[in-house]
């Protein structure tokens, strides 16, 4: 429960919080990011991003439109062109 997850769009910063895991829709397939993930830079496709607060609890589904994700020591940053929460 210690992955720093930041989601920003050009218009505003949508989320900045501690989560367990985030599943990101990469262009070459979805991938999950947990705490301590190796540094990664990936282009994402339009799709659904899932935020997990525990091993099996999804707290949010966010539809993102194009952009990219960066994982470094500070955590995961997703830069999306547009994003909107899916109920």
């Amino acid at each position: 429960m210690a992955l720093n997850f930041t989601l920003v769009t050009p218009e505003k910063q949508l989320r900045s919080e501690q989560v367990h895991m985030v599943v990101v829709p990469g262009t070459e397939g979805d991938f999950g990011v947990l705490e301590g993930h190796a540094p990664l830079m990936a282009v994402i496709r339009s799709g659904e991003l899932q935020v997990f607060s525990g091993p099996a609890t999804v707290v949010a589904r966010i539809h993102v439109e194009g952009g990219f994700a960066e994982v470094n020591e500070q955590g995961l940053t997703v830069l999306a062109e547009a994003a909107r929460e899916v109920a």
């Binding site: 920003v8 050009p10 830079m41 830069l79």
Partner: protein
């Protein structure tokens, strides 16, 4: 000497003008706050993107195979000046300053024997530019229907610009807009849009402690993916800054106008009172003179 009635009418007319400028100032102040907030909100994305671009640029060799968006077309003969102005006037020297900066750059480029074209965002620069450089305006983006600039608007413009670049319409694109410093200070700024100028990579990140970053897909693909996005974001930021600058400039201009109107009202009031007094005095003298004559 103007008649009493004329003075009074004049004063009333200035007073109603003052009311209008005052209202415009208030509106500009409210809009400025909103525009500033929007500009602030966009900062994290832009900063992050710039960071990523810099770290990628240090890893990718700009070779002959690189995207023309970085490498250029191999010539710098035809320049496109993207001039972002406002849709409405009465904003002080806001539009004049931007157009002046663009003209300076255009004249310099023309003196160097380059071909210069204009791409206008907003309509306020059109009159001057079409008079000075007839037939050089390739396109004008109409933003009069847009209330608050969204990223989508910037994206549209950037797509159009990139399409024109790929169609070989120009070699270099410069962007002109007013950078927002404060409500009082707006700086006309020139920025090279295409080809993307790559900032010298920050060495600390590249060499040393940071672990090897995995790329998915490879660096070149990511960079190619990022470049158009970077252009869009530069445009978006410029539009936001421009919107804030416009409101700031309008607020200052309208504040001055309100103050000038106040001064004018004072002067007219004094003049009105004096003439009124003079009229009464003359009348009294006439009555007294008449009474004495009897």
């Amino acid at each position: 000497m103007a008649s009493l009635k004329a003075l009074k009418d004049r004063r009333n007319s200035v007073r109603s003008t003052q009311k209008i400028t005052k209202a415009m100032k208030m509106v500009a102040a409210a809009k400025l706050r909103r525009a500033q907030a929007a500009a602030e909100a966009g900062r994290p994305y832009a900063e992050k993107l710039a960071q990523v671009m810099a770290s990628l640029a240090s890893k990718v060799q700009v070779g002959p195979g690189a995207s023309p968006l970085i490498a250029g077309t191999g010539s710098d003969k035809r320049h496109l000046l993207v001039v972002a102005t406002s849709e409405r006037g009465l904003a002080g020297a806001f539009n004049t300053n931007i157009v002046r900066a663009a003209r300076k750059a255009a004249d310099q480029l023309i003196a160097e024997g380059k071909d210069v074209r204009f791409y206008l965002i907003g309509k306020k620069g059109r009159a001057v530019i079409s008079r000075l450089y007839p037939g050089k305006i390739v396109h004008q983006v109409d933003q009069s229907h847009i209330k608050n600039v969204g990223f989508i608007d910037a994206l549209e413009v950037s797509r159009d610009l990139i399409a024109r670049y790929e169609a070989g319409e120009y070699d270099v694109a410069h962007l002109f807009f007013a950078r927002f410093r404060s409500a009082l200070v707006q700086e006309p700024t020139q920025l090279q849009l295409i080809p993307v100028p790559l900032a010298p990579a920050v060495e600390t990140q590249a060499s040393g402690t940071s672990a090897v970053v995995e790329y998915e897909p490879d660096e070149e693909t990511i960079l190619a993916e990022l470049l158009p996005r970077n252009i869009a974001i530069q445009l978006f930021r410029a539009m936001l800054e421009n919107a804030a600058s416009e409101q700031g400039s309008r607020m200052t201009a309208m504040d001055n106008a309100t103050r000038n109107a106040g001064d004018l009202i004072n002067r007219l009031s004094i003049q009105y009172n004096r003439s009124r007094q003079a009229a009464i005095t003359t009348e009294l003298i006439e009555i007294i003179a008449g009474a004495e004559a009897l």
